[in-house]
């Protein structure tokens, strides 16, 4: 048989283990990108099937039905209705879960109406016995007009059977399993007559949703007066849903047997503790505390190792390559720049590890439930907890995660305050400054002072987010209906493979995404620091050696003085000097000033920038970034640059300032206006300046 390429779309409700099935099919052969124009994550993987067939597997965003209520869900409909899309599926795999079959089948019956070959996967069958569930598969296959595969992605059961079944997609029925149009015969008959070439369900989706297609425009339908009032449409949608559930209930009455006596009570016991009015909050706090302590403690050794490796790599390059501009670029620009980012891989890995465990286990939904009432006092929703926690990884996916907040005002406030939470890009800055200015001591025997400071900074971020939400809630005059529906999924032991794939993907995205910017900025900085406009720069050596007070110095000391003098008179030095008056009240010198400016593109650039500046400005390359920062002194006063007062001032500045172009872009996209991101930028950055100023002036 010749080689063949097919498209397979995976679709299903949230929390059915769809992504696990995807991971089992494709392993690490995945590409994560975005759908053009919108910030919905697009995951496509590759899978070899029997009979020489290759499959592109598309993991569509989780959705409860084809009635889209968010951008994520619109993606699903648009792909499934657009035959011209190059990912248009040859076969759809609907993933359902054995315990929630009833609800999962609603989506299935809608998909069947699209008349595309559809396979039903029933996942998590390893729980069937535990829950006392038995299924009559031949009966279900007949009623649902499909083929069913029983899968346990956890126990790796059924994946091969699924692969084989996919290859036979041409033989699978494309007939709908019920006639939903009987909810309003007259209406649908006229519709059918007017557009005889279109599938009826597709027409219905176009009428009820805000989507357009090349071959089918909403306007055409409006002209034919097929639109109804919103209230009428909603009544019809309700009727449609009831109709579908009637069919499903009747089918499952025969096809599914549940022996409820066998069902264990584990879930409700755990729920009782985790949502308890005292234990619930206490456990939540302990979980957060543990995460932040371990991020700092566990990543210490690998971080030091990476840092010192790059320092020796840099000096090795310097010694072994012929001296000149090119060697300098590599040894002083590129290597320290890359080292400045790779150093934080351990911390970022741990952070993503914990976040994905919280989400996978089902604990996150309990936190939403626990926090809703409290969060509402601040104009937020319980669902804002998820963005606020995942904001500790990165504000961008966090802002996208606000999409499932139904109330626009709550959602807007969540978007606006999320950048206050301590994202992973702040971590490098915090880590290095805490390491410099906070003593590495233990209090009460177990609490590390540095870890504690880090935790305080996280709390500060959350606190500011909540406080500004409270103010926004008072200021913003928006009237929105409050809807709130959150699914409480069953508790699951997180699957190692899923967690690992998430961690690897996210860390890769961090390293390459931030790495590109950091590399480019390092090179530019190195150039600006190694060249200067004036005579002073070119004649640095003569000027320094001719000075009377320098006559008695050793060769090495003179070299250092020359390098420092050159740096001061380079382009970057002049730029830094220009802004120095604005930042010296905060306790910063011009070098920190340059680092702050360059980190407006992305915060994590801060460390890389300082690394580059210090490498150019000194003659030794053997030292680690940390040691270089620790020994940096103010030439006028002889005081350390990174002392307690300036350190705290820097920490506060980074805690509050909005230094991330991508965050501004995503806020613009999600709010559809420049008003909100610009407001965010101005408010957060001026607040940061004022707080840093107060802190330094009080502490110095």
């Amino acid at each position: 048989m010749s080689k063949q390429n097919i498209n397979v779309a995976l679709i299903g409700n949230p929390n059915v283990g769809k992504t696990s099935v995807f991971n089992q099919l494709t392993g690490l052969n995945q590409q994560v990108g975005n759908y053009p124009g919108i910030t919905v994550e697009k995951k496509v993987g590759f899978c070899k099937l029997p009979n020489n067939i290759n499959a592109n597997v598309i993991d569509l965003p989780g959705t409860y039905s084809l009635n889209a209520s968010s951008a994520d869900e619109s993606v699903v409909i648009e792909l499934l209705l657009n035959k011209k899309d190059k990912l248009f599926p040859d076969v759809i795999v609907v993933v359902s879960e054995v315990e929630n079959l009833k609800r999962n089948l609603l989506l299935f019956t809608q998909i069947k109406d699209l008349e595309i070959p559809t396979i039903l996967v029933i996942n998590m069958i390893d729980r069937m016995q535990l829950k006392g569930i038995s299924l009559d598969i031949p009966f279900l296959e007949e009623q649902l007009k499909t083929k069913i595969v029983l899968v346990s992605s956890r126990k790796k059961i059924g994946v091969e059977a699924l692969k084989t079944l996919i290859t036979t997609y041409k033989t699978i029925s494309t007939e709908p399993c019920l006639d939903a149009s009987s909810i309003d015969d007259d209406y649908f008959n006229t519709l059918r007559k007017t557009f005889p070439n279109q599938s009826l369900y597709k027409l219905w989706l176009v009428i009820t949703q805000d989507v357009n297609f090349v071959d089918l425009n909403r306007k055409a339908l409006e002209k034919q007066s097929f639109t109804k009032t919103n209230s009428e449409l909603k009544k019809l949608q309700q009727k449609e849903t009831i109709k579908r559930y009637q069919f499903i209930n009747n089918t499952l009455k025969i096809g599914q047997k549940v022996d409820s006596a066998k069902a264990t009570d584990f879930r409700s016991k755990l729920d009782r503790v985790l949502t308890h009015k005292v234990w619930g909050y206490l456990i939540f706090f302990v979980v957060l505390f543990g995460i932040f302590q371990s991020i700092f403690e566990w990543s210490k050794i690998p971080m030091d190792f990476i840092d010192s490796s790059f320092a020796s790599l840099s000096s090795l390059t310097n010694q072994n390559l012929p001296p000149g501009a090119f060697t300098n670029l590599i040894a002083q620009g590129i290597i320290p720049g890359i080292g400045g980012i790779l150093m934080f891989i351990p911390q970022i890995t741990f952070l993503f590890l914990f976040i994905s465990i919280l989400e996978e286990s089902g604990y996150m939904s309990r936190v939403v439930f626990l926090m809703d009432k409290i969060m509402r006092r601040f104009g937020l929703s319980g669902k804002s907890v998820v963005p606020l926690i995942s904001g500790t990884a990165c504000a961008i996916p966090a802002i996208m995660a606000t999409r499932n907040i139904e109330n626009w005002k709550e959602r807007l406030i969540t978007i606006l305050v999320t950048p206050f939470t301590t994202c992973s890009a702040r971590l490098p800055v915090y880590a290095i400054i805490i390491g410099l200015v906070i003593p590495d001591k233990y209090v009460f025997g177990i609490l590390n002072l540095q870890g504690l400071t880090l935790m305080l900074l996280y709390i500060l971020g959350f606190g500011m987010a909540i406080l500004s939400a409270y103010m926004l809630n008072k200021v913003l005059q928006l009237n929105c209906k409050t809807f709130f529906v959150v699914e409480m999924p069953n508790y699951k032991l997180p699957m190692f493979k899923n967690v690992m794939i998430t961690v690897v993907e996210k860390t890769k995205a961090f390293v390459f995404g931030a790495g590109k910017i950091i590399l480019a900025i390092s090179v530019i900085l190195w150039f600006l620091a190694s060249n200067g406009p004036s005579e002073k720069f070119r004649n640095a050596k003569t000027i320094i050696t001719s000075k009377a007070e320098n006559k008695s110095l050793s060769v090495l000391e003179i070299e250092n003085k020359v390098a420092a003098y050159k740096l001061e008179n380079s382009y970057i030095g002049l730029m830094g000097k220009t802004i120095e008056p604005a930042i010296s009240p905060l306790g910063y010198d011009w070098k920190i000033g340059v680092a702050i400016i360059s980190s407006f593109a992305a915060r994590e650039v801060f460390v890389g920038t300082l690394a580059t500046i210090y490498s150019v400005g000194g003659s030794d390359n053997e030292n680690t970034i940390r040691n270089k920062m620790a020994t940096e002194t103010n030439p006028k006063t002889g005081e350390k640059i990174f002392n307690f007062a300036s350190g705290i001032s820097l920490l506060l500045f980074y805690a509050f300032a909005l230094q991330c172009i991508s965050t501004l872009a995503v806020t613009k996209k999600e709010t559809n206006s420049w008003k909100w991101p610009l407001g965010q930028l101005v408010f957060m950055s001026s607040f940061a300046y004022i707080m840093a100023l107060i802190a330094y002036q009080l502490l110095k």
């Binding site: 609800r103 849903t241 009831i242 009782r272 949502t275 439930f369 009432k373 709130f484």
Partner: protein, 77 residues
């Protein structure tokens, strides 16, 4: 006074009777909140809101103001 989900006691079961489709989000209907289906109040969050329900086998939480709109008939005496 009519009985709604909001007036159920913890652990109490009921049958959904009626509600105004305009005030209930479609998403809730799709998750099984339809007339004739059973509902059980499983947990009440601290401070009395939101409510954690088992509707037609689906486990979900809604706010009390939505719960007040859904009329039910209690089946546990």
């Amino acid at each position: 006074m009519k009985t709604t989900i909001a007036s159920l006691k913890k652990g109490e079961k009921a049958i959904i009777k009626d509600f105004d489709a305009d005030v209930i989000p479609l998403k809730l209907l799709e998750m099984g909140c339809l007339p004739g289906n059973t509902v059980q109040l499983l947990q009440i969050a601290p401070f009395g809101d939101p409510l954690y329900l088992d509707i037609n086998g689906s486990h979900l939480a809604i706010r009390i103001e939505t719960a007040r709109e859904i009329e039910v008939d209690s089946i546990t005496k």
